[in-house]
Amino acid sequence: MTEYNFAYLDEQTKRMIRRAILKGLAVPGYQVPFASREMPMPYGWGTGGVQVSAATLTPDDTFKVIDQGADDTTNAVSIRKFFENTAGVAVTEETEKATLIQTRHRIPEAELTEDQILVYQVPIPEPLRFLEPRETETRKMHSLEEYGLMHVKLYEDISQHGDIATAYAYPVMVQDRYVMDPSPIPKFDNPKLEMSAIQLFGAGREQRIYAVPPHTKVVSLDFEDFPFVASKANHPCDLCGAEDSYLDEVILDDAGNRMFVCSDTDFCRSRRAAGHVGRLGTEDAA
C-alpha cells in the first residue's frame, strides 16, 4: 500500500493518544491534555479529529467524514483521502455502512448504532474559555464544579435577546459533573448526544481529548422558565421534503429567492432515492 506507518502516526504517538482516550472515557466530559502533533494539514482543519481517528482506526473499519453534514466538501474529501492513502481503510458516504465517522460540526440525522464511533473535530474545547480566558482559572472552575458563570451567560442571552440566543456549541452537563462544549454542532443536535455510539472529541491546536461513552447522561443547560429548545429553520427540505432534519439556507439569486436543504447530504440523498420529493426537487434528481 504505502510507505506510511498504518494510519500515518507513529506507534508511540498513538499509544499516548490511546491512553488519553481511555482516561477521557473513564471521566466523561473531562478534557484530557495530550501532546498533539503537527499534522499535514493546518490547525482548524480537523487535526484533533484526525489524530483521534488515526489512533482508533483498524484496517477493518469503514470510514466516513462529514463537514457540516456534507460528505463532498473540501475538508471531508481531503480527510477521507488522507486515511484511504495512509490506512488503506474502506470509505463510504452512507452513514449506516460506516463504522467510524469523523465529523465537523454535525451529528448525522440517522440514529447511530452500538457498532459505530463518532469522532468530533473541536476548535475550542473549553466551554468557559470566552467567559474566562485563563486556563488556570477554568481548570479550577471545573475542579470545583463552579459553573455559575455559564448560567450567567445564558441569562444575559435572555435579558438581551428575550431568549437563549446561543445556537451552536451549546453547553451541556455530562453525567451531572462536567460542563462540556459539544463542539460547534447546532443545538438542534444536542438531544442526539445521548446515543448508542461511542463519542470521541479531539482538539488539535488546543491539545485536548474528551469523550462521552454510550448512553451517558447529557443535559443541555437551561432554566425552568426558559427550557432548552432544539431549534431549526421552520421549513421542510426543498429537495427531499424532510420536516425533521437540520437545514442549510441557500441564497439562489439576487432577487431574494432562497431554498432550504438538508445539511446531512447522505440523509437527503437516501430520502430522494426512496422517492421523497421537496418543493424544488425533481423525480430524477437522485
Binding site: F6, R15, K23, V27, A211, V212
Partner: protein, 191 residues
C-alpha cells in the same frame, strides 16, 4: 520453542495493526463496562495472561511507569516488559499501570487517583482474574444502557473507588485472552 522462552519472543507480529485491534477492544470495554472482549496478540512470560500482555504492549512505553505486583514480578517478566516497551519499572505509588492478581495489587490506597484539576493522572490497574463472567455485581452509569453485570473481585473496595469520582483508579480485568473494564464512573451494586 515456547513463545515465552526468551524475553525477545511474545511481541506483536504486526505492531501497528495488532495494536489497533487491541486498542479497539480495550476502548470498547472501557466505554461499555460489563462487556467482555477477546484480546490477544502478545504473549508474556508466565504467569501474566495473554490479555494483560497485549494491554501492556498496546498502552505502555518509556513514558509510562509500570508496577509488577506479586507473582507477576519475575526477572523474566521484567526483561520481557523492558525489551518490548521500554517502560520504567516503578513502585505502586508512581505507577501509571499496575499488573497482578487482586490480592497482589492490594492495598488500593497506594495508587494514584489523580488530582481534582487533573483527574486523568491516575493509575490504571490490570487485574488478573481466574475467569470473567457477566454475573455478580450490577453495574450502571456511563456506557451502560440500563444495567450490566460483571464478576468483580471485591465489591466494597470498588464501590469506595467510585465514591472518589471524578478521581479514582480505572480497572481492566483480564483472564486468558479475555478482557473487561471498570472505569471509576461506574456505579456498583451487589447482585
Amino acid at each position: 520453542m515456547q513463545a515465552q522462552a526468551t524475553q525477545f519472543a511474545g511481541g506483536f507480529s504486526n505492531t501497528p495493526v495488532d495494536a489497533a485491534h487491541a486498542f479497539r477492544a480495550a476502548m470498547t470495554v472501557m466505554a461499555r463496562p460489563g462487556e467482555i472482549r477477546t484480546l490477544s496478540g502478545a504473549q508474556a512470560p508466565v504467569p501474566v495472561s495473554g490479555a494483560a500482555a497485549t494491554l501492556l504492549l498496546t498502552l505502555c512505553d518509556p513514558e509510562t511507569g509500570v508496577y509488577l505486583a506479586g507473582a507477576s514480578d519475575t526477572p523474566e517478566m521484567r526483561q520481557w516488559l523492558t525489551f518490548h516497551t521500554g517502560a520504567p519499572l516503578v513502585d505502586a505509588a508512581q505507577a501509571d499501570f499496575a499488573v497482578g492478581t487482586w490480592t497482589d495489587l492490594l492495598p488500593l490506597k497506594t495508587y494514584r487517583i489523580g488530582t481534582s484539576e487533573y483527574p486523568d493522572r491516575s493509575a490504571t490497574l490490570i487485574v488478573e482474574c481466574h475467569a470473567l463472567a457477566q454475573t455478580g455485581a450490577t453495574l450502571s452509569g456511563p456506557g451502560i444502557k440500563n444495567t450490566s453485570q460483571l464478576n468483580l473481585p471485591d465489591i466494597p473496595a470498588l464501590q469506595a473507588n467510585s465514591m472518589l469520582y471524578p478521581l479514582g483508579m480505572d480497572f481492566f480485568f483480564t483472564s486468558g485472552t479475555q478482557v473487561a473494564a471498570l472505569p471509576r464512573s461506574t456505579q456498583i451494586a451487589k447482585g
